[in-house]
Symmetry: C2
DNA sequence: CGGTACATTGACTGTCATCAAGCTACGTGG
DNA sequence: CCACGTAGCTTGATGACAGTCAATGTACCG
């Protein structure tokens, strides 16, 4: 959690457009004014000032949210893109979770137990509340506070569900569970083809497998006719229920396409 | 999360003594009036009514907190004893986490994603906030609210740390990490001997190992001179730093003995 | 056009799950 | 108090599976 390379663009006003940490040309205007879950819950009729809403940023692939926030305490709502959570337990950082659009990711308020960093896996648009801002908002805005608390417990429950996946003895089941989980996350995946987002190595980290095993299992699932592999990082579901049967779990996400 | 066998003793007043779900003779008076973390944070000087504090219960071994609360939404602070969190992802319930004294355990506010139950591993004393109570308290008591939010993120961080442990390829490391973790939890363990709390089988669930492997690894650690096994479920640390080295992690818990 | 990061494939070894049998501790009831 | 039953634990043998090492292959980047 270094705070060294501060994002190039610093927030200056509260207009609801994504701030840039990218060259301006890379920014699609599509997400400007798009309300994030946190901001959408502001209730002006209750005297809540919309200008206290978080500041929006476009985040580069590989960029850490912590660097943008430039404080040790922040919270963000993900509008588009995918983030990953890396935990560095002393040694090499390992990916321990993913954040998909609609989810809220909060960085521990006081102490960071093991050094976790939140990094953009793809180009992402976030709505960020930095330290002072966040404190002020959670004190005075019950709706935000509720949402944050609820999100925390939801994330906790999901993490526990992942523990069940990871503790499976067979690699096949874990990989299948990962695929089902990611597939269920993409609202855009009407046509059953989706981006795997992570490299084989990072999938391995997440599942507690070696990258070779991940590769082999993905291809084994393809040979079994459950999925197709149009590109290296893309998967098409040929038999979703079959895949869920292998995974032993049906992931159902509140937001996004039904699993 | 069945709500069938409601605890025998129902809360009736707000006196700060542990309510009984046990025959009265089994109740030590030692914990009466002992403040739980949640209640201790009440600030009467700010107009917070201490009578809104949670109700206290002594919980039998094997009893589910959900049965006592008799609602689908509650939160409890553990004074003494150990609780376990069981997640039943469709099939057989598996233990996915432990709760030690000083920790707060909250049951999801609205939806329970995978059916998790919180069960007493040993005889425990808890301070329980049930549904309506909880909502009222979190609305009107900033200190409680803060504590709850903080606790949620802390638990999340710990759960993520467990993911790192579980995803280790070697069984030896996982078992060692479990021992180090439990050892660090007991404030009473000044003499380095502690109760393992869980059966081999449940440890296996938690670590994603078979019970036979757990047994073998524990004995292997004993043969290596890192621990001694005075009784089946008791462990004495002979070489804590050596054990931590095998585990690859030093667990440090905010409350309880230093790791 | 070369470089780099990622992915695949193969061979081999170590570890762990599984099956199976016996053992210990503990509680219950005769 | 002892006999017995059960649940949990230990120990062994075996085979499948996943990690490791290594080499090759492929896409994407400048």
């Amino acid at each position: 959690m270094t705070k060294a390379p501060v994002a190039s663009a610093m927030p200056s006003d509260a207009a609801p457009a994504f701030r840039e940490t990218l060259p301006a040309k890379d920014v699609g205007g599509a997400f400007e004014n798009m309300p994030c879950d946190l901001c959408a819950s502001f209730q002006p009729e209750n005297g809540e000032d919309r200008r206290d809403a978080g500041r929006r940023y476009a985040v580069r692939r590989g960029q850490a949210i912590g660097d943008i926030a430039a404080t040790d305490s922040w919270c963000a709502s993900l509008a588009t893109g995918v983030l990953r959570i890396d935990a560095s337990q002393g040694a090499a950082p390992r990916t321990v979770g993913l954040i998909f659009p609609g989810q809220i990711v909060a960085h521990p308020f006081d102490a960071d137990p093991c050094g976790t960093a939140v990094v953009a896996v793809t180009r992402s648009n976030i709505c960020l509340h930095a330290r002072g801002d966040l404190q002020h908002v959670t004190e005075h805005y019950p709706s935000i506070r509720r949402l944050l608390l609820r999100s925390a417990f939801q994330t906790l429950a999901e993490t526990r569900r992942w523990m069940l996946v990871i503790s499976r003895p067979r690699a096949r089941e874990r990989v299948a569970a990962f695929l089902v989980s990611v597939a269920g996350r993409f609202p855009t995946s009407g046509h059953d083809t989706f981006d795997l987002v992570l490299s084989r190595g990072r999938i391995g980290e997440l599942l507690g497998l070696s990258l070779e095993t991940v590769s082999r299992q993905i291809h084994a699932l393809a040979k079994a006719g459950l999925i197709a592999l149009p590109r290296r990082r893309h998967v098409r579901l040929l038999n979703r229920s079959g895949l869920e049967a292998v995974a032993g779990i049906t992931f159902r996400h509140p937001s996004g396409a039904a699993a």
